[in-house]
Symmetry: C2
Subunit: 349 residues, 2 copies
DNA sequence: TCTTCGCACTCGCTTGCCCGGAGTGCTAAA
DNA sequence: TTTAGCACTCCGGGCAAGCGAGTGCGAAGA
């Protein structure tokens, strides 16, 4: 029937929403009396009690121990996020402030990514992290091979976001500076504007050989491009870990340790958001959905930022499961939007 | 007389040393009885008591509360570090392990700096951080101005450690690719091998004008060099924050917050080691010597690493005042040595 | 049939209290 | 000057009592 949400009748849904809302606000297990007193439910605490017992049986609520109030379970949060909460929008002044603060960063990729992570961490009052644009999704802009000696040089590759990566190379045959310039020009002519991932080894080899170079130079070019592709791979800017200490759920120091460890292993951090690349929209992972017992009482909000149509990176907020989901989604989206805009400032045209 | 150390007679000095040593080992305030039982002092606990009272009067020891044992004060640790402790050397196998682990990093400046910070953090069981080489102390290797259009280009500057920085420039007058190559060559011929800080604006302008360029190009070149000089300025790799959680002194969460905040503000972290650049040797800062009430019960061990004769960066360990100073100094020195060696691998010759 | 009331019960948290242990300072004797 | 003895202090752990918030359930009411 129309009145059902996720298998819950209207009243149950409303009570669940209220419990989650209240628990997010206070951090205390919420009981039936407190709920009826604070919110006008139109029924008595006893009724609420019955409903809560049902919700617990359905797996939406949990009881830390008998004679304590109820606390949302992963499923409870999930239902809340998917169906019950009302989405938030940022106010115009908030948007403006985000934009203003983002302007403080110079027009360099690293800086705007770090700035957005700092900003988001502070606004959200939680740990925020932002992945740098996957270099695979960046495009190739310029290559320059610099002559150092008869048999050595430096290859410099500039991507569309102005990220330069350089690599030294050694050759088996002599070359002249002119040779290198010729090859640079050929590479630029062929690949300019292409996505880096489309600069595959075969085409690189073809161009290099066409210019009359041997396998040693093919290897050098390949290494240079590989370096550019993978360079910033799991580059992540994180910020705001100290806010986690304010959360009562971190009075237990062991949980903190897991988080700090994860922070330092960028790999793990990256894995957390990796599958968000598959879906272009915001995603929320709750508790065990994060796939790790250590992180079981945390949640993760992830929002992509774009360059043009392509999602090139992710902004994430990691915090206690008991987080204001609607608000954080709004903040992350707002920051993502501004970050996307600023991305055009660093673009090398 | 000969038997005095820092104004303490021999026995007082020995007792102080033992108290510090024992406190570092156990973390418990140490009392006179425990001390006489565990160490063969040749005197009774009552005598030790008297001496300890003197040491407390002299400011070397403190009492958390009446009827507790004594704990070293800043001054007590200071005397211990300066005059009492016996320096440690790393064993040959430990050196080897450090060297082996450092080999895991690819020959890229960032990687070896990060690797050394991770390594040191793990070995020392504390927060370790390593500053990247001050780019001022790096030398200039190559400049390449790349032609993009009649009035715009990219300047790429490579330093001795293979760090490339790039900047876009716009001009008021048309140039040809050949013009830019000519200027690149002139810059390379003039400045190759010089320290970056010696590539001052005046000489840059002189060379640029000599090649027949106007003020717009002078500005572009200046910006490019300034970018290279300041680029990695306060770049710091930190690692091992989670170890701090093991220390009993961090049961209080507020202290952790200060540390996490400092970790994220690289500026503060950099200030901590900044004055260590003045002295070329290892330095130890204890408690209030760090100049901040927040950090009052921490200590910092800082050891420079070198490129050739020049100290170019610092390795630091930040941990509880109650840290095994001799051991950590040895570890930091060992890591610094290996880092210095590996620096030659990334040098662009 | 659903809701509400009343009531007994549960359980964690806080408070107060006691006690043991470790350490001190002081005094007097060696 | 050192040592032994002793009274005193204070922290911390353990334990019991009381409180408060909440539950579940049976019976009464709509």
């Amino acid at each position: 029937m129309e009145n059902e949400v996720d298998g819950l009748d209207k009243r149950k849904a409303y009570i669940l929403a209220t419990v989650v809302y209240e628990y997010i606000a206070t951090g205390e297990p919420v009981g039936s009396q407190a709920l009826t007193q604070k919110y006008n439910l139109g029924v008595s605490s006893a009724t609420v009690r019955n409903e809560m017992a049902d919700l617990e049986a359905g797996g939406y609520l949990e009881q830390p121990h008998t004679s304590a109030g109820r606390v949302p379970s992963d499923a409870g949060y999930r239902t809340y996020v998917d169906a019950l909460m009302s989405p938030e929008e940022l106010g115009a002044d908030e948007r403006r402030r985000i934009r203003d603060e983002m302007r403080d960063a110079r027009a360099q990729l690293d800086e705007i990514v770090e700035q957005s992570s700092r900003l988001l961490g502070r606004l959200a009052g939680n740990l925020a992290f932002v992945t740098k644009p996957q270099s695979e999704t960046q495009s190739f802009r310029y290559a320059q091979l610099i002559w150092i000696g008869e048999r050595s040089g430096i290859a410099i590759i500039v991507t569309s976001f102005g990220v330069a990566s350089q690599s030294l190379f050694e050759l088996r045959n002599d070359v002249t500076p002119d040779d290198l310039t010729r090859l640079s020009n050929a590479l630029n002519a062929t690949f300019a504007g292409r996505l880096l991932r489309d600069c595959d080894d075969r085409s690189l080899a073809a161009v290099t050989k066409q210019c009359g170079f041997g396998d040693d130079m093919v290897g050098a070019v390949r290494t240079a491009f590989t370096g550019a592709r993978t360079q910033e791979q799991p580059g992540i800017a994180a910020s705001g870990a100290q806010h986690l200490l304010d959360q009562p759920e971190f009075r237990d120091v062991r949980k903190l340790r897991s988080i700090l460890r994860i922070l330092e292993e960028q790999r793990t951090l990256y894995d957390l958001v990796a599958d968000a690349f598959d879906s272009p929209a915001a995603s929320v992972k709750i508790g065990h959905e994060l796939g790790s017992e250590e992180l079981a009482d945390l949640s993760l909000v992830t929002v992509p930022y774009r360059f043009g149509e392509r999602a090139v990176g992710m902004l994430s907020i990691l915090g206690p499961r008991r987080m204001p989901y609607a608000r954080l989604l709004a903040l992350a989206s707002g920051t993502a939007e501004t970050l996307s805009e600023r991305l055009h400032d660093v673009e090398v045209r």
